[in-house]
Symmetry: C2
Subunit: 121 residues, 2 copies
DNA sequence: AAAATAAATAGTAATGATTACTATTATTAT
DNA sequence: ATAATAATAGTAATCATTACTATTTATTTT
């Protein structure tokens, strides 16, 4: 896999952010540095980077894929009111149980839903 | 919320199945009993039932929403090869940790990825 | 270094799951 | 029974994502 200016840029944007941007948000950021980059290029590279395991996709109920450049095992809390996604770096589920069931686990995605402290008030 | 024949049917199909069907699969099942039911009605009712908490939506990477009528807290294992979704009725994460962070948890969705025993071989 | 080969891009068109819309039908209330 | 309300069927619109194509950029070969 070659790393063109555009691909590098997309990868850098995702791993440089602590939120969980959508393709469109990444596209907007990218255009500030590479004004001619096309949306298709952003999508293509996001998909390639995800396939390579260089970023993680979060499929939420808003129908848009969110991208996470933080590859450490962690979960996410999604606020039902404001939609904010909060990282949860608690200890992960034990995978042993699943291995004992004949399932080999390569990754996990856990989402918790509720109200964040702002919206709870 | 009135329970029309169609709404009842959609609800029954989802809660009667142990797989995790998409809207289209539910539509096909529904048409066997109610041949004139429209796809829009299926979608509308699935959304309403989900809002009411009578079923759970699973947003997977195949871009189609899967519906789960089993409301007990459980996780899912998704096979990276065949896409099969397997229920995991292990004990859930403890929510106390999150409550202590000021997050009130109303539900959770956890996905584990890997290869199922069939595909592993 | 020029020619040949391969990969990546920009820009646009197509896809497809989901939602919105509208006229009609069914249900409930007065 | 009539009026008011909700739900439906069927179709059109939406919109995130993908596919496509001609062109550009990078790599390899001679």
């Amino acid at each position: 896999m070659r790393f063109s200016r555009q691909r590098e840029l997309v990868a850098d944007i995702v791993s440089g952010r602590k939120d969980h941007p959508t393709a469109d948000a990444i596209y907007l950021s990218a255009r500030e540095i590479e004004p001619n980059i096309s949306l298709g290029t952003v999508y293509r590279n996001l998909k390639l980077l995800a396939d390579e395991g260089r970023l993680v996709t979060l499929e939420t109920s808003d129908k848009k894929i969110h991208y996470d450049g933080d590859l450490s095992i962690h979960s996410h809390f999604i606020c039902e009111d404001c939609g904010k996604i909060i990282d949860l770096f608690e200890s992960a589920h034990s995978h042993e149980l699943l291995e004992n069931m004949g399932l080999s686990v390569s990754s996990e995605k856990c989402f918790y839903y509720g109200k964040c402290s702002d919206c709870k008030r």
